[in-house]
Subunit: 460 residues, 2 copies
Amino acid sequence: MTKRTLLALAALALPFPLLAQHDPAAIQQKALGDDTAYGIVEDLTTEIGPRLAGTEREAAARAWAVERLKAMGFSNVRIEPFDMKTWVRGIETAEITGPFTGKMHISALGNSASTGDTGLEAEVVYFRTLADLQAAPAGSLRGKIAFVSHKMTRTQNGASYGQFGGVRRAGPSLAAQKGAAAIVIRSVGTDYHRNPHTGGTNFPEGVTPIPAAAISIPDAENLERMIARAAKKGEAVKMKLVLTPRQIGTTQSGNVIAEVPGSDPNAGMILVGGHLDSWDLGTGAIDDGAGVAISAAAAKLIMDAGTPKRTIRVVWFGAEEVGLFGGIAYAKKHGAAGHALAMESDFGADRIWQVDFKLPDGTDDLKTRIANALAPLGIGRSNQPAGGGPDVGPTVALGVNAIDLQQDGTDYFDLHHTPDDTLDKIDPKKLQQNVAAWATVLSIVANDPADLLPKGKAGD
Amino acid sequence: MTKRTLLALAALALPFPLLAQHDPAAIQQKALGDDTAYGIVEDLTTEIGPRLAGTEREAAARAWAVERLKAMGFSNVRIEPFDMKTWVRGIETAEITGPFTGKMHISALGNSASTGDTGLEAEVVYFRTLADLQAAPAGSLRGKIAFVSHKMTRTQNGASYGQFGGVRRAGPSLAAQKGAAAIVIRSVGTDYHRNPHTGGTNFPEGVTPIPAAAISIPDAENLERMIARAAKKGEAVKMKLVLTPRQIGTTQSGNVIAEVPGSDPNAGMILVGGHLDSWDLGTGAIDDGAGVAISAAAAKLIMDAGTPKRTIRVVWFGAEEVGLFGGIAYAKKHGAAGHALAMESDFGADRIWQVDFKLPDGTDDLKTRIANALAPLGIGRSNQPAGGGPDVGPTVALGVNAIDLQQDGTDYFDLHHTPDDTLDKIDPKKLQQNVAAWATVLSIVANDPADLLPKGKAGD
Ligand SMILES: [Zn+2]
Ligand SMILES: [Zn+2]
Ligand SMILES: [Zn+2]
Ligand SMILES: [Zn+2]
């Protein structure tokens, strides 16, 4: 009896077909027909919905997550809590009061101050770009509402978010420093729907926060037209803003952790995940229900194929949106030690098109094997180093390896941080392609003999 | 000197190039480079914005329209006022209160009753279709919120609006008759954005109106999932509704009329138009800023080419959305007499793909000339009779001829009656194709020798 026949017979004796253990091609094939990830996003968006960091809804999501990850068969399922300062949304309306009329679709940015219940009415001062706001003389905005526009472009890799996101990140504190009563920005997004794109902003120590909000892109373009027409008549457009968000003090958030224990504790673990919190306008399907679903579904495929050499640790991070609090808390608690690799999914649910590596010297063969295994999924290899993503970023910064499976972001900013981030935006087939890519990489790296443990840097 | 040379010399003597008078091909060509229509929609949506029938905003639109039509050079610009019963929107919120959570994007339907400021909270009873609601036993909905879903499909000619629109038109009165406390419908639309589609509904004499509203399609699908999950546990989903629209009594609306006087009063006039009122959620760009713009821009092209034989009467109808009040008032006041043809644009701003005729016997040659002249624009001839559209419908019903230039409606119900009906949805090139088609038809019919006057029917 040959060894092959023996294996075939052994397979027949099992209650369900045994995959060749950690055969990347077989795992990839199985992933392409697996609906575990879609089920996670569907349940999370339906049963929990929006889950703003630090709120009761995020806590409900954690409780749901613990139950779900246990039911999936993971080990050591637990919550690692941390404290955070929490901001919550209130009423939000904006209305043009002269010389034209009209309601604008608006949402406050995270950390926005309140206008008070009675709101504020003021002249709108237009800035075409953040640079134009920067150039405004100090005090020139006193008592006025700054309106900063821009025209964000689509990019497959999301690079434009870095370029245009500054309007949201830096615009409010800049306007506050110049004395503005409030700031309204054109949403940082690429769609043409009446959906404002929220997102965090920050007021540095010493700068008193002002009301800060985003209007939808159709509203922003209408406001630009109104301002141009009013200016021709020597008039200014006036806006009435009511925004009543508030800081509610310190509350608890946390990271939810689950593991597939490996057979070799000395080989180091693979950290994978996404973030469990979401902005409060949509149901957090693509940001980042998809990410938590992809990472867990891929880890489960490995678990179901048999014990890997390396432990796979799934982390569903808390409080990403409002300041990467979960990722920072994780890195602070765990450090780099024992982490062979970190991977994260936080860029939607569109198809993966590229793989980037940050792996030690001497792993060229490993990289080639991964790239070759991904090629059937339409994924190409890049020459840029992997960064790891926002949540695992603080861990990667400590010297941990990373592999990035880059999702196509062309349409991501149509939905990002809007009410439109809902389940219907996820294509189940594309989600499966994501899980297949992740499971492929995990099946290879989890069993690879290479030494991937982080090395203390010289001088450490 | 030949007659031809004489004409050529005469042309040179004019201050601007004279089109061969009413040469359909030349007018069509000019229309394809003309931005008059886009300018009308841009100004109307920016300077006036939403203009709900019977309100001060619709009155502002009429005042704006008179000024604009005069500035364009039309004659006999005037308002024909009429009275109407007017409904206005109030606050509108919907929240799931058990066993799940979440806010729904909701808008009241025209003629909806109010829940009162404190709202109403009740169990949601799901009906997959209007027929299912119809089958519900009398009294079975007492104290509950009926939720009627459906899945509207896309059709190029808009036929699906007839099939699925009944959920909005008939659902509320049906639910009221069965004792429901309120009704929520899945928006009659084909998009997947968090935009509710409003629109009119009606409660017949003797049926007490109930609160009636539409939720966005992503919300409707989420609600369906919640209901299915709750049902598995033997629970019902509860919803808290706050809707405070109200009837404000009798106010004034009106039709705005402008003319290109023809040289032959006995040849009958051509009635063209769209409706000036809009729903209040968007700025009424595609419904029906585009229609008023297309009809007026086409009439202006004829006017600029020289006096036509037939008068062209442009009517920007009032109060279409809430009950065709403007079209009915027009037909009542003017009757059929003296109308050679009626045409209307009220199906968005996408390209025209088909022409339908309702013309008297003996006009085959005229129809063929029109169809041939439209062919270069990608417009095909149909064998179905023209209907004329909602506003000119009451006039056409009196025996007036009609030509329909059918717009592609595949995407129309993505935007119809939503906040997303804004200027950015209009493609200037497609709008020009519309104007070109309209101007082509007008240039032919306005000068045709055929007898197109309505004949008294036997027995009239
Ligand atoms: Zn994210
Ligand atoms: Zn985000
Ligand atoms: Zn209409
Ligand atoms: Zn309409």
